[in-house]
């Protein structure tokens, strides 16, 4: 362990598409899932993360390194998170929310969820279906009834012509 040897311990994480990543243990244990593995002594070799692909894991590790380099200052951490998420597209955010959930990283989870919610503001029903790959399982009658019940919420919605 790092504390005993005095040198930083490095962990090797493996994505589900077999990419390998080296990351400092002190940053990686922001993930409760990884921390539990380390504490259980299962982190000796390569840590397989079966639910995260390489592209997403690379992003998450960038975040882990970035946020753990900031001393305990909630304001600075928050502005780092905002900046980190500001250039991510919707698909990346959706992958990251799943990864953050799997890795049990509450701070990233909260930030990504909030960011996705912010993107969803004033969006149309069609936009949500398309972006989240959701199939409409209402019959036309059922859908008309649900829409009718909340008719006023369809006012002031962004038009549905964006990709």
């Amino acid at each position: 362990m790092a504390a005993e040897t005095g040198t930083p311990t490095t962990l090797t994480l493996k994505s589900n598409d077999d990419e390998l990543f080296s990351v400092a243990e002190s940053a990686a244990i922001l993930s409760v899932t990884i921390r539990n593995m380390v504490e259980d002594g299962c982190a000796g070799g390569v840590i397989p993360l079966d639910n995260v692909d390489g592209k997403t894991l690379a992003s998450v590790i960038t975040y882990m390194n970035g946020i753990s380099a900031i001393p305990a200052d909630e304001e600075k951490k928050k502005s780092y998170r905002d900046k980190f998420l500001s250039d991510k597209d919707f698909e990346t955010l959706a992958d990251m929310v799943l990864a953050a959930n799997y890795l049990n990283m509450s701070c990233l989870m909260d930030a990504v969820s909030a960011k996705i919610a912010q993107v969803m503001e004033k969006k149309s029903v069609g936009w949500v279906r398309r972006k989240f790959g959701i199939e409409n399982d209402y019959t036309p009658e059922e859908e008309a009834a649900v829409k009718e019940e909340h008719k006023w919420t369809f006012e002031g919605v962004e038009t549905d012509d964006d990709n």
Partner: protein, 363 residues
């Protein structure tokens, strides 16, 4: 992309406004069932209460609508009068006396029909409940409270009603405790006659909840001379009581509220020949010796408020500044504690302005 599990959906959706959520019920059956579920409704409410940017100020209007305004974005930083008020339709049953607001719900008592209306204007749903008070005996509402108390998380309405029994000219005083959402009819309403203490109450007002007890400031008609007391009603024990106001203050007019977790009073006090506003707080609950003066509100307010006005504490901001409504001018004011000065949030305010969060809570 992968389907998201329910807990992730809940996390994401809890960051959305009520209007967006109601619209997204049309996306698919799964989202509809998540958004309609009690677990999500509570999560969304909890998140709204703990997120300052979602705190709004609610103002009834005399016409057919309610207005709400986002406090932090629209009013802070010189919103002036170019404020983006959001208008919510007012249900036609929501008439009469404003009883209170809690968790996005608004409660009214129609004193002509003696019916309570609890409405969620963001959902556009409301519910009415007949009080079954005999109108022949001229019932009059003395004071009221609506809210949720944390011990059982149930919404409750408390009403103090004066009526005559038709036999004598002596009025009777009753406390009504109503649980408008209770499924159990026998515990939904409880009424008890209160002894002469209620005669003291001269001042109509909305109660303040603290430690499971509702407080009203009242003027002691028996003692006369500047004597205010706090009348209390314990929601658990269903018992009435009294708490003293600061000793030796000559109060011309006072309002109560909660500042920093303590019962507090904004008193218009005679000092020498003129009256000024002072904020007092009861450091130790129920201990009258612990009343402590927090500050004066008189500094540099001459142009904005007059000592003859009535102020009401709407709420306290995260920075500890006081939001106040006033009459006869319908301003909404903020008292910046650090700078010791008043600013006008809007001159288009309302006496019954209240802190408010939108919610999915179904009345």
């Amino acid at each position: 992309m992968h389907q998201l599990p329910v807990e992730i959906w809940e996390e994401i959706l809890s960051g959305l406004s009520v209007k967006d959520l109601l619209r997204f019920k049309s996306v698919c059956k799964n989202l509809n069932s998540i958004i309609s579920g009690q677990h999500f409704i509570n999560l969304h409410l909890k998140k709204s209460i703990s997120t300052p940017s979602r705190h709004r100020i609610f103002m009834p209007r005399d016409d057919e609508s309610f207005r709400t305004v986002e406090y932090s974005r629209d009013l802070q930083g010189g919103g002036g009068d170019h404020i983006d008020f959001q208008t919510l339709p007012r249900p036609k049953e929501a008439i009469g006396n404003f009883v209170g607001t809690c968790d996005g719900l608004v409660c009214y008592l129609d004193t002509i029909t003696m019916r309570i209306c609890v409405s969620n204007p963001s959902l556009r749903v409301s519910k009415t409940l007949d009080l079954n008070v005999n109108r022949r005996y001229c019932p009059a509402l003395l004071f009221s409270w609506f809210g949720r108390e944390s011990s059982d998380d149930e919404y409750k309405v408390v009403l103090g009603i004066r009526s005559y029994d038709g036999k004598s000219n002596c009025p009777k005083y009753h406390m009504h405790l109503i649980k408008p959402f209770s499924d159990n009819c026998s515990s939904r309403k409880s009424i008890r006659e209160v002894d002469g203490r209620l005669e003291l109450i001269w001042y109509f007002g909305e109660g303040i909840l603290l430690h499971g007890i509702v407080h009203w400031i009242s003027y002691d008609r028996v003692m006369h001379t500047d004597h205010y007391v706090m009348f209390t009603y314990d929601l658990c024990l269903e018992s009435v009581g009294e708490i003293s106001m600061p000793v030796g203050l000559h109060i011309w007019h006072g309002v109560i509220g909660v500042i920093d977790g303590c019962l507090s009073a904004i008193c218009n006090v005679y000092r020498g020949d003129f009256a000024i506003y002072e904020v007092w707080t009861m450091k130790e609950y129920g201990v009258k010796e612990s009343w402590t003066k927090l500050m004066n509100l008189s500094g540099r307010c001459d142009d904005l408020i007059s000592a003859s006005w009535h102020l009401r504490l709407v709420g306290v901001t995260d920075d500890g500044d006081l939001i106040l409504s006033c009459i006869p001018k319908h301003h909404l004011l903020i008292f910046k504690v650090a700078e010791k000065k008043f600013e006008i949030l809007t001159s288009n305010g309302h006496w019954f302005a209240r802190m408010f969060v939108e919610s999915l809570v179904f009345p």
